[in-house]
Structure formats: structure tokens, C-alpha cells
């Protein structure tokens, strides 16, 4: 058994993959808490999709991917807000339109550049091919996100819980909002190699959703979410290695399973109590 668990990590690429995945698991599960509490699942989905044209344009212009992705992520959240308030459409409609429009734009551009960028890897991740430099980049992005969330935790909680109160007492509410959107974009960029921009959404929703069922306070919410997220990426990585399946797919699948299994446990427990 131990043998089975350790075997993959005699390879350097697996060690890098493991560390990268854990880093991604940590940062996504922290943001996941806010996304789930605020019902931003669809918004997270939209931002991750809109990262695609950002990456495409960055490739075309030969600027760092992270810049393109950040601009696209923040730009799309602004566009969603603008569409919703100015054109008077419902929030989910605005998100749906921006999401598909941006994704289509990215696909169109990338299909012209195909030889240089593997769309499949951008969309679904390829953690077994992570290089050491990419690991450093992922860790740096994740650290930035975690540090900012840690420093402004109070403000983020107040804003996400009661946005009107935040405004009334003079907190910079829109600044906090767009900071969160930027962090989300950065987190998605950091996760491209591990889970891909489509499947990272599962790590941005499932761990928080799992935690939400059991947590009585924020600290519990974060710990449970972290546990679910990190366990998902580790198990997913093993599955990916032993069964030679897509890493992003395996990780997302485990995260989803953990959510459903804990839901069942909770359901059985509450009905047993009655």
C-alpha cells in the first residue's frame, strides 16, 4: 500500500505535479468559500471562461499570459456588472452572455494560433507536464492571493455579507469587489496547468459547497474547504497517474464526489437524528 502511494513520487515530474496541485487546491478552496456563500458560482464560471481570450491575445501579442488573463478576468467582471445595471438584464443573463461571448472569442483567436498553444491543456489542464518554472509561477500567484485575502479578511467578510453596510460605513465597496474578481482571475491563471480553466471551476465551487454544509463559522468553513480541496487534488493526481487519465478531469471528479458523499452523510445523519 505504502509502496503504491510512494511509487509515483520517485519521478521528478510527479513531485512537481504534487506540489503544484496542493498549492492550487489551497488557493481555490479558500476563494471557494466566498464564491459559495455569495452564490457567485456562475460568476466564477464566467470569469474562468473569459480568461481564455485573455490568454489567446497574450499569446498573439507575445506578452505574459498572466497579464492577458488578469485583464480579461477583471474586464469580464466589469462588463457583467455594466450589462446588468445599464442594459437592465438579469444577472444570470448578463453572465451567460459575457461567458459564452468571451469564450467564443478566445476559441476563435486560439484556433488561429493552434500550433503554439494547446487548447486542450488550457481548458482541461495537464498537471503531469508542469515545469519547475511553472510551479514557481503558480506558487507565487497563489501566495499573492492568499496574502491579500488574509490581510483584508475582515473587509472581505463585511463586504460579502452586507454590501450596503460596507458602503454606509465608508468601506471602498467596489474596490473590494473588483479586488476579489482580480484575485479570482489570478487564482484561475495559477490553476491552468493543474485543472485547466474549465475544470478549475469545480475546485472553486465543490470544496466551499462541502464546507458550507457543516460549518458554523468562517474558520470552520475555511478548514473544511481546505481539507476537501487538498484531498481532491491529491486523490485526483493519483488517479491521473495510475489510470493515465486527464489530471484536471480526475481532480474535478474527486472534488465533485467528495461533495456528493458528504451531502449524503449529512442527509443520513440529520434524518437519523429525527
Amino acid at each position: 500500500m505504502i509502496q503504491l502511494l510512494l511509487e509515483p513520487f520517485q519521478y521528478n515530474f510527479m513531485q512537481i505535479a504534487l506540489v503544484t496541485s496542493i498549492v492550487v487546491g489551497i488557493v481555490t478552496s479558500i476563494l471557494s468559500c466566498f464564491i459559495v456563500i455569495r452564490g457567485w458560482a456562475l460568476l466564477g464560471d464566467a470569469i474562468s471562461h473569459s480568461v481564455l481570450p485573455g490568454i489567446a491575445i497574450a499569446v498573439a501579442l507575445n506578452v505574459p499570459l498572466v497579464i492577458g488573463a488578469l485583464v480579461a478576468g477583471i474586464g469580464s467582471s466589469l462588463l457583467i456588472g455594466y450589462t446588468e445595471t445599464k442594459f437592465k438584464v438579469r444577472n444570470d443573463t448578463a453572465i451567460g452572455i459575457v461567458l459564452t461571448g468571451a469564450f467564443a472569442l478566445g476559441l476563435v483567436i486560439l484556433s488561429r494560433l493552434r500550433p503554439t498553444v494547446d487548447i486542450f491543456h488550457v481548458l482541461f489542464g495537464n498537471v503531469l507536464g508542469v515545469t519547475y518554472d511553472e510551479l514557481l509561477f503558480t506558487s507565487a500567484s497563489a501566495s499573492i492571493v492568499l496574502i491579500i485575502v488574509g490581510l483584508f479578511m475582515k473587509e472581505i467578510v463585511v463586504y460579502t455579507f452586507d454590501p450596503i453596510y460596507a458602503k454606509v460605513i465608508g468601506l471602498p465597496a467596489s474596490l473590494i469587489h473588483y479586488m476579489l474578481m482580480s484575485l479570482l482571475s489570478l487564482c484561475i491563471v495559477a490553476s491552468i496547468q493543474t485543472a485547466g480553466i474549465i475544470l478549475v471551476v469545480s475546485l472553486l465551487i465543490a470544496p466551499g459547497a462541502t464546507a458550507y454544509m457543516f460549518a458554523g463559522r468562517m474558520s470552520q468553513m475555511f478548514s473544511i474547504s481546505l481539507l476537501a480541496g487538498v484531498v481532491s487534488v491529491i486523490i485526483g493526481l493519483y488517479i491521473s497517474y495510475y489510470f493515465a487519465v486527464s489530471s484536471g478531469g480526475a481532480i474535478a471528479l474527486v472534488a465533485t464526489l467528495i461533495f456528493f458523499v458528504s451531502s449524503m452523510v449529512k442527509l443520513l445523519r440529520t434524518s437519523a437524528l429525527r
Binding site: 455579507f161 453596510y165 458602503k167 454606509v168 460605513i169 463559522r217 468562517m218
Partner: protein
């Protein structure tokens, strides 16, 4: 100096004019009720005072100053629908939010903080400090929000329909807290649909229907003619007769 001074306030949302020419003067330490039917502009009035809605015309002074400059002194207790109740926060967490501007950026509120503990005691929630807010009753939620405002050190309390859905006992408990705040010189303005003898507890009643129908002492404002102007229904006017009798105004 007045706690709140509004002159000729007009608020328009695109095509709808929600408030027209509203002038109002609330003195420090007064408790005022804003009464009017659905859509009469009560929430709009509050949102304009706290700066969420920009007035088309008119002037608002809070403690004689521009609202922007006295933000920490105004507390707003939102209508129930406006916050995310499912948030995994305890009553203590909610009350401690009142310190967010004073505790300083990058720091947390210490668990043993005195002002939070005192505020929770003031609203009678000290035993429920560790309770999750989604597990509170409506009355307890209102008092938890009041605790946050007290921690914040607010001097002007704006409450949008805090009595909605409260039973008589919860209402009593809320008024106990409010009257205590009033005794400490705080100013309280609340909207309500509850036309009952509790209005007797207020110093002033503002009868609103897109504009000021009447403003003054409860017994002077809550007359049959005024109520007919606002509600246009005989039933409300009859109900008013009972209210006046219970309050011994007639």
C-alpha cells in the same frame, strides 16, 4: 443642531418619482416613525440618507454636516432581504463588524473586546454570542444588528421595517433596547407598517406618500383625515379609532 435635516428632497428613479419636496427635521435624541403604504418611498428615504441613492434635488445634513463626512455616526439596519443570512457567522462576529473602521486595517477584533461584549449585553444577546446568525429568530436578528450599530458608536440609527414579522414579545424587547439608546441621547428613525399603540412611544411620526402628508407628534399626525389621505380606506381609519382609544388620545 438637528440630528437630521432634510430640505426639499426629491428623488427620481428614471421615470418614477419616489419622493417629492420632502423636508424633515429630527432633533437629537428623538425617536421618529416613518409610516406610509407600500411604495410610499420609505426605503428610498433611508437609502438617500445613507447615500446609496443620489437625490435629484434637495439637501441632507446629518448632525449639521454633509453625510459623507459623518459616515461612522450613521447606522443602517437593513430590511431583512438585504443581507446574506446563510453566512457562517456568529452573533459575536456580526457585532464585531461594528469595529471594522476603528480596529484598523490588517488587524482583527480581539475575542475579549469590551465594547462588543457590552453591546451584546445592551441588546440582551450575551448568552447567544456564539449562536450562528441563521439560527436566530427575527427579533434576535434585529437586536444583533443593533449590537453592531452600538459597537460602531453610531448616533443616528436608521431602521427599515425592523418590526416586520416580530411578535409582541420580540417587539417589546426591541423597544426596550431602542428606548435605552434614546435615553443615551441617540436618535432613531424607523419605518413601519404597524399602526398600533406602539406609535405612542415615538416623539414624532412622519406620514409619507411620495411627499410629506404630515409630520409631528403621533396624536396630531395619526388623525382620521390624514389616514384617509394616505390609505384611502375606511378600514384603516376605523382601526385608527381603536389605536387612539388604546393610546388614550381621544
Amino acid at each position: 443642531m438637528s440630528a437630521l435635516e432634510i430640505t426639499d428632497l426629491t428623488v427620481r428613479y428614471q421615470s418614477i418619482t419616489a419622493l417629492t419636496g420632502v423636508s424633515l427635521n429630527v432633533k437629537i435624541g428623538e425617536m421618529v416613525a416613518v409610516v406610509g403604504p407600500n411604495g410610499s418611498g420609505k426605503s428610498t428615504l433611508f437609502k438617500t440618507i445613507i447615500g446609496l441613492v443620489r437625490p435629484t434635488n434637495g439637501k441632507i445634513l446629518i448632525f449639521g454636516r454633509e453625510p459623507r463626512t459623518v459616515r461612522g455616526r450613521t447606522a443602517y439596519v437593513p430590511q431583512k432581504e438585504e443581507v446574506y443570512w446563510d453566512y457562517p457567522l456568529t452573533v459575536w462576529d456580526l457585532a464585531a463588524m461594528g469595529k471594522i473602521k476603528t480596529v484598523g486595517i490588517l488587524k482583527g477584533v480581539p475575542k475579549g473586546d469590551r465594547s462588543v461584549a457590552e453591546a451584546l449585553r445592551a441588546v440582551g444577546m450575551e448568552d447567544l454570542a456564539e449562536r450562528k446568525i441563521s439560527d436566530l429568530s427575527g427579533g434576535q436578528q434585529q437586536r444583533a444588528f443593533l449590537a453592531r450599530s452600538i459597537v460602531q458608536g453610531a448616533d443616528l440609527y436608521l431602521m427599515d421595517e425592523p418590526l416586520a414579522g416580530l411578535d409582541a414579545d420580540a417587539e417589546d424587547k426591541l423597544f426596550d433596547v431602542l428606548l435605552e439608546l434614546k435615553r443615551k441621547g441617540k436618535t432613531i428613525i424607523m419605518s413601519t407598517h404597524d399602526i398600533s399603540s406602539t406609535l405612542e412611544l415615538f416623539d414624532g411620526v412622519l406620514l409619507l406618500k411620495g411627499r410629506v402628508i404630515a409630520y409631528g407628534r403621533p396624536r396630531e399626525v395619526l388623525t382620521e383625515e390624514n389616514m384617509k389621505l394616505v390609505y384611502g380606506s375606511e378600514r384603516v381609519a376605523m382601526h385608527l379609532g381603536d389605536v387612539r382609544r388604546v393610546a388614550k388620545w381621544d
